[in-house]
């Protein structure tokens, strides 16, 4: 029987927007990248076939349309994250580039010898490595907030680290490896009160829960389009305007300048100061359509659907003998379940599942420090999104039984 939530939320209708599901795949790897609805594909195709042109330059009508769509997507993203101004919304290649931009442009101005950077054990390598490079260059130190046995951040330890007055605190909204939803409002407020600059990695959070950057009050927020029903190669860096204004450019070249003479350059206004070279116009337009798509369904409805699927999967997986699930209880996790099946390596499980069209991730999920902490080299991970249906979870469970049979 369908519940009241699922009767309002028409997952079958949503799935018809995604051509890939015609192949019959059970796609349980949305934390890796999401599938793309027709609406996104069509918006990109329309630009490519009907009004391809560069932006901010040409005088002809269809180039104006390209500029309009390009900047229109920025306004959609501004609304999506509730930034004060589109000046605070910078296009990047993705979350990784956004964090690197902050590490280079802000970090190299503000982090010095002996300064403390606070990260957490739940971070994706993208929110570790840029800070390690910065720390090595500047002689700064990095400390990590540990997790408890439920895979949740040790807030007592976080508070203790804040007393050491870190210059920068960076953490994820949602853990890609465990699905842990971090209390980012409380953590941001505490870190700001301690005088730190705060970056939140929203790669796994924005697509599933959305964000209100003003309500949370972080200084920087980075996320990717491709996990949010959009294309690869486009992401967003939100930065508070005062900070972005004071930062030097990251990449330099065309479009980020106002005037260039032989000896010097005046930089363009925000946000274009950070958008050097011809941008990923097709992908920006795709991202705009993706934001329309998810907000059309509603972030609350998406979150409720994912929660229902996650609870269902959590219970179904728990019932399989030999399964260990890592991380918090379903109510405190996003649509991600990392697990181990006794006697079967995650890679073998993924291979077995793949043979029956079940797409599952196996590996360290770009979170090797966390895997070390958990004492495993790798986990299997099933992750869900707005289009996931329970039969896909059922197919995974069947494959767990099949793997147990093969490896018995």
């Amino acid at each position: 029987m369908s519940t009241s939530t699922s009767s309002r939320y028409d997952v079958a209708a949503i799935r018809r927007d995604f051509p890939i599901f015609e192949t019959g795949v059970a796609y349980l790897d949305s934390a890796n990248t999401s599938q793309k609805p027709r609406q996104v594909v069509d918006a990109m195709t329309e630009y490519l076939t009907e009004y391809t042109s560069n932006i901010h330059r040409a005088a002809y009508a269809f180039a104006e349309k390209a500029t309009e769509r390009y900047e229109g997507a920025r306004e959609r993203v501004r609304r999506f994250i509730n930034a004060r101004s589109t000046k605070e919304v910078v296009y990047t290649k993705g979350t990784t580039e956004g964090i690197n931009l902050v590490a280079y442009s802000w970090g190299r101005q503000h982090i010095g010898a002996g300064d403390l950077i606070v990260l957490t054990l739940l971070e994706h390598h993208s929110n570790i490595v840029p800070w390690q490079l910065l720390a090595a260059e500047k002689g700064a130190r990095i400390e990590y907030v540990d997790i408890d046995e439920k895979g949740e951040l040790r807030q007592d330890q976080f508070q203790a680290l804040l007393e050491r007055k870190p210059k920068l605190v960076a953490f994820g909204q949602v853990s890609n490896a465990l699905g842990t939803i971090n209390p980012i409002a409380e953590m941001t407020a505490a870190a700001k009160a301690a005088g730190a600059t705060v970056l939140v990695d929203g790669a796994q959070g924005a697509p599933h829960a959305g964000i209100d950057v003003q309500a949370i009050g972080m200084d920087f927020y980075a996320f990717s389009g491709h996990k949010l029903c959009g294309p690869t190669g486009i992401g967003i860096l939100y930065g508070r305007r005062e900070l972005l204004e004071a930062m030097p450019p990251f990449l330099s070249g065309g479009d980020m300048i106002r005037a260039v003479s032989l000896q010097e350059t005046t930089f363009n206004d925000l946000p274009w100061k950070f958008e050097a070279g011809t941008q990923a116009i097709t992908e920006v337009i795709g991202l705009g359509a993706a934001v329309d798509y998810v907000t059309g369904i509603g972030m609350d409805a998406i979150r409720a659907h994912e929660r229902e699927i996650t609870e269902y999967a959590f219970e179904a997986l728990s019932e399989v003998p030999g399964v260990t699930i890592f991380g918090p209880p379903p109510a405190r996790r996003a649509g991600v379940i990392s697990f181990a099946l006794e006697g079967v390596h995650p890679h073998d499980l993924a291979t077995i599942a793949d043979r029956e069209g079940v797409a599952l991730r196996a590996g360290h999920h770009c979170a090797m420090p966390l895997m070390t902490r958990l004492g495993v080299p790798a986990t299997a991970r099933a992750s869900f999104y707005l289009y996931t249906e329970k039969t896909e979870v059922d197919r995974l469970v069947q494959q767990l039984h099949e793997a147990r049979r093969i490896f018995a």
């Binding site: 390596h345 995650p346 890679h347 073998d348 291979t351 077995i352 043979r355 196996a362 590996g363 360290h364 090797m368 895997m371 080299p377 790798a378 049979r405 093969i406 490896f407 018995a408």
Partner: protein, 133 residues
């Protein structure tokens, strides 16, 4: 039945569950370890040499059925061989011995133990590298 499985064949599973030459050697002449960056799995190999031959070999580490079975098969193959003969073993030999179709996604699992052997046998500085194989 598992015996019918084209990929997880009986002998693969057997080498996975009962790996041959598994463990460590005391005072090995050659000892080397490599990481599969895709999954974080590690395989190490200890070799004991006598008169230029591999008198004894042990492998350790953990990994998927493919990497473990491949390592187990490889240790059986090189025992008693000269170091020069071990160096001659190529990717194709290992894949042929596994006898199953390995997808691109799993090829690093299948060849991890060979990488360990080669890097150990040549010494890291002298090994031409897996790309040169």
């Amino acid at each position: 039945m598992a015996a019918d499985d084209q990929f997880y064949r009986e002998y693969i599973l057997d080498h996975y569950k009962n790996p041959r030459n598994f463990g460590r050697l005391e005072n090995p002449d050659i000892s080397h370890e490599e990481l599969n960056p895709l999954c974080g799995d590690v395989i190490g190999m200890d070799l004991k040499l006598a008169d230029g031959r591999i008198e004894d070999v042990r492998f350790h580490g953990r990994g998927c059925a493919i990497s473990q079975a491949s390592a187990s098969l490889l240790t059986e193959r090189i025992k008693g061989k000269t170091l020069a003969e071990a160096k001659e073993i190529g990717k194709e030999d290992v894949l042929e011995e596994l006898g199953i179709e390995i997808s691109a996604a799993r090829i690093k699992c299948a060849l991890l133990s060979l990488k360990v052997l080669k890097a150990g046998a040549y010494g890291l500085g002298d090994w031409p590298g897996e790309e040169e194989e």
